[in-house]
């Protein structure tokens, strides 16, 4: 088992109820998992807990048999080797595309950094745009830069928070296919959160349906969305 989550519970400050109630799941290496649910179901919170941006009240997370969080341990986000794609991309506005992507490559030398930059730019089809600033890019291009930036440090797991929500419908279909291709090519273990069943259907190997912080269904997309 590559990623193990067991009995995860979480409550936001001042919230009456727990946002995440006893969430458990095992994920194999290279698998693409979709967490599907309405807004407010707690799906983004799962990603934040995995990334280390929130601390669970109980439960444990293990990545590749390393304890990331339990009652005694908490590995800081920067030490988790987890990449995250943010819903509104969070591209640093004061950095060019190249600098955004190189941001996470701090342990590489200059040559390695440039090599990796070229690799991920090729992967997301953005060669030629590396000197642009985020505000000089279209929505689709920004989305790809965000993906390239998250993939660049070769994280062990990639988390994607509503990767298509800011794109118009035509672009969504196109980029869904592209993302599927990229995930297959990199063979990275990934979890993405969505409220759109088309996303889950076309990209995920397995779907987890979340409602009010609880798993209410899980399985292959064709079984979950048969109706």
């Amino acid at each position: 088992m590559f990623l193990k989550i067991e009995g995860l519970k979480f409550r936001y400050k001042n919230a009456k109820e727990e946002t995440i109630k006893d969430f458990s799941i095992d994920i194999n290496k290279g698998e693409t998992i979709s967490i599907f649910g309405e807004s407010g179901s707690g799906k983004s919170t799962i990603l934040r807990l995995l990334a280390g941006l929130e601390i669970p009240s109980s439960g444990l997370i293990k990545i590749d048999n390393d304890m990331i969080v339990n009652d005694k341990n908490f590995v800081l986000p920067e030490q988790r080797d987890v990449g995250m794609f943010f819903q509104d991309y969070a591209l640093f506005p004061h950095m060019t595309v190249a600098k955004n992507i190189k941001f996470g490559l701090k342990y590489m030398n200059k040559k390695q950094k440039n090599h990796r930059l070229q690799e991920v730019l090729d992967l997301v089809n953005l060669t030629g745009l590396k000197s642009r600033y985020p505000y000089e890019l279209s929505g689709g291009q920004q989305q790809r830069v965000a993906l390239a930036r998250a993939l660049a440090p070769k994280p062990s797991i990639l988390l994607l928070d509503e990767p298509f929500s800011n794109l118009d419908t035509d672009l969504q279909t196109k980029i869904r296919k592209e993302l599927k291709k990229i995930l297959n090519k990199t063979k990275i273990t990934s979890i993405f959160v969505t409220h759109d069943r088309e996303d889950s259907k076309s990209i995920a190997d397995r779907v987890i349906v979340l409602n009010q912080g609880k798993i209410i269904d899980k399985g292959k997309p064709k079984d979950i969305f048969k109706s």
């Binding site: 908490f74 988790r80 987890v82 995250m84 941001f103």
Partner: protein, 547 residues
């Protein structure tokens, strides 16, 4: 239950430094509270019996009347500027902020110089028209004069806050009142005044805190208030206990004012949640009405800025040959360097606490935030007492260290150094830097921080590479605000400066107190020019943001 894991994940450079800074801010204030209950001595009995009543009555008279007059002037001007168009409106829009560039103590001796027997007005009347005026109508050095000075140089607080509220919040209500057949006056009385109550009270409480903080005006005019009394008890009588008791009563007064402000503002909230801001369509005032509006604005602008500035320029031309020498250059260097060092420290501390607070956003961070902001409400005289006691205490405890370093070391080292003054500046002006940086962080939000953390950067690396670059404008504006405030500051500098250390403000005040009003003009003008530049900078920056 608190888990060891949670404590560990919360301890980092930022949380440790924040805690240290907060303790350092709180300790001197605690000194005052601890000493309140010391047994009263003879001095205190004397003060209580014969003087305290005057201090209370004078301080209350000053804040009450200054409060009322600044409300009148500030609100009416903000109404005129926001709702009407008349000649030179665009100029007055920012010109009416300029009186803030003149510290009231400079305004006080300038007006005294203008209006006294040898001043330009009386000389003119005497020499050209042979008119001898009754001195009592021209004597500004009284409590009425002080109210005039405070009103005319502090009303912009009410004006700025109310104007920006009216511009942002009220257009639809004002237009509705007009459509419903109300005329301008009725709209002002029945709609504008009630809805902008919170803004007006916010502005006037800043005015009141400034009046309570003042030492220069009341000392120069010879009005016994809490500030002058604390200074006198400390310096002339050498009586720490009584000074502390006075300071604590003043703190109590400030406390009541802050509670009153919260109560008056907080009962009803009128601000809208909608983010759509429609600017008010301004009504053009033609003919007599236009001239009247212009005249009112011009009158206030002249009294609050133009006349005193022209007078200071005139005096500067008379005295510059004697004043501008190497000693004056040293004065400028002193002023600028202490303001620079203190502002840099304030901004660094504000960044550390603000960054900690935004990342944690819990009960503790709320306490930190409130503690940081409280300094600005504490009058300078009170901060001085707290800081002196704190530093003497440190000196006593560190005496053995001083002796180890230098056998003949004096007992008081830190408390006779410039460090004490810088520390006091930090306590008083941290709130201004903090406010600016906090709003900078608020604008940027946490998403870039989080993105950077998931890309392998720690909190400090993230701050240097991401946050710092994104909140640069907020850092710069916070720095300028603090810098100018320190340059103008008088009470703390007067009481806490090391022996023979002068700044532009203390020198100007010293000249004026020694009946050398004309000699004080150049130092005053430099302070005013730097303040005007910073006000202009903010006016422009503010406008850009609104667009």
């Amino acid at each position: 239950m608190i888990k060891v894991r949670d404590i560990k994940s919360n301890i980092n450079l930022w949380s440790i430094l924040s805690l240290i800074f907060i303790i350092l801010i709180v300790l001197p204030n605690l000194n005052i509270f601890i000493n309140i209950f010391n047994e009263s001595n003879q001095n205190w009995n004397h003060i209580k019996e014969y003087l305290l009543k005057d201090y209370i009555i004078n301080s209350l008279t000053l804040i009450m009347f200054t409060g009322l007059f600044t409300i009148f002037i500030g609100t009416s001007l903000s109404w005129l500027i926001s709702v009407y168009d008349f000649p030179f409106r665009n100029f007055f829009k920012w010109g009416l902020i300029l009186p803030l560039a003149i510290p009231p103590y400079i305004g006080a001796y300038t007006y005294n110089g203008l209006l006294n027997y040898t001043g330009v007005i009386q000389s003119f009347l005497r020499n050209f028209y042979n008119i001898q005026v009754n001195q009592k109508y021209f004597n500004v050095m009284s409590i009425k004069g002080a109210i005039f000075i405070f009103t005319i140089f502090l009303f912009p607080y009410v004006y700025i806050i109310t104007k920006s509220y009216l511009e942002k919040q009220s257009s639809s209500l004002i237009e509705n009142a007009r459509v419903l057949g109300r005329n301008s006056m009725e709209t002002f009385v029945y709609v504008v005044l009630p809805i902008s109550r919170g803004a007006i009270i916010g502005g006037v409480s800043l005015v009141i805190l400034e009046v309570l903080n003042d030492y220069g005006v009341v000392k120069y005019f010879g009005i016994p208030t809490f500030s002058t009394a604390i200074f006198k008890t400390w310096f002339s009588m050498g009586d720490i206990d009584s000074a502390v008791k006075l300071a604590s009563i003043l703190m109590f007064l400030v406390f009541i004012i802050l509670i009153l402000e919260k109560f008056l503002r907080g009962r009803k909230k009128y601000s809208y949640t909608t983010s759509k801001i429609t600017p008010i369509s301004r009504k053009r005032l033609k003919g007599f009405k236009g001239k009247l509006a212009f005249s009112f604005c011009f009158l206030i602008f002249s009294i609050g800025f133009l006349i005193p500035t022209l007078q200071l320029i005139h005096w500067s031309l008379l005295t510059y040959k004697d004043i501008l020498n190497i000693r004056f250059v040293k004065l400028i260097v002193n002023s600028l360097s202490i303001a620079l060092i203190s502002s840099v420290l304030i901004i660094i501390i504000a960044i550390v606490i603000a960054n900690y607070c935004r990342l944690k956003n819990n009960f503790l961070s709320k306490i930190y935030s409130k503690t940081t902001l409280v300094g600005y409400s504490i009058p300078g005289a009170v901060i001085s007492i707290g800081v002196i006691l704190f530093f003497i205490n440190i000196d006593n405890r560190l005496y053995w260290v001083y002796k180890m370093i230098n056998k003949n070391s004096a007992k008081l080292v830190l408390s006779t150094s410039i460090i004490m003054l810088i520390f006091a500046y930090i306590m008083r002006f941290l709130a201004i830097g903090y406010n600016s940086i906090e709003s900078g962080f608020e604008k940027v939000g946490n998403k870039f921080f989080e993105a950077s953390r998931t890309l392998g950067m720690g909190i400090t690396e993230t701050f240097i590479k991401v946050d710092f670059k994104m909140i640069k404008p907020a850092i710069l504006s916070g720095f300028i605000l603090v810098f100018v405030d320190i340059l103008k500051e008088l009470p703390l500098t007067l009481i806490l400066r090391p022996f023979n250390f002068n700044t532009l403000s203390t020198k100007a005040f010293e000249y004026a107190s020694d009946e050398m009003i004309q000699e004080a003009s150049i130092a005053s003008l430099i302070i005013i020019i730097i303040s005007v530049i910073s006000i202009y900078f903010f006016y422009k920056a503010g406008n850009k943001e609104e667009v």
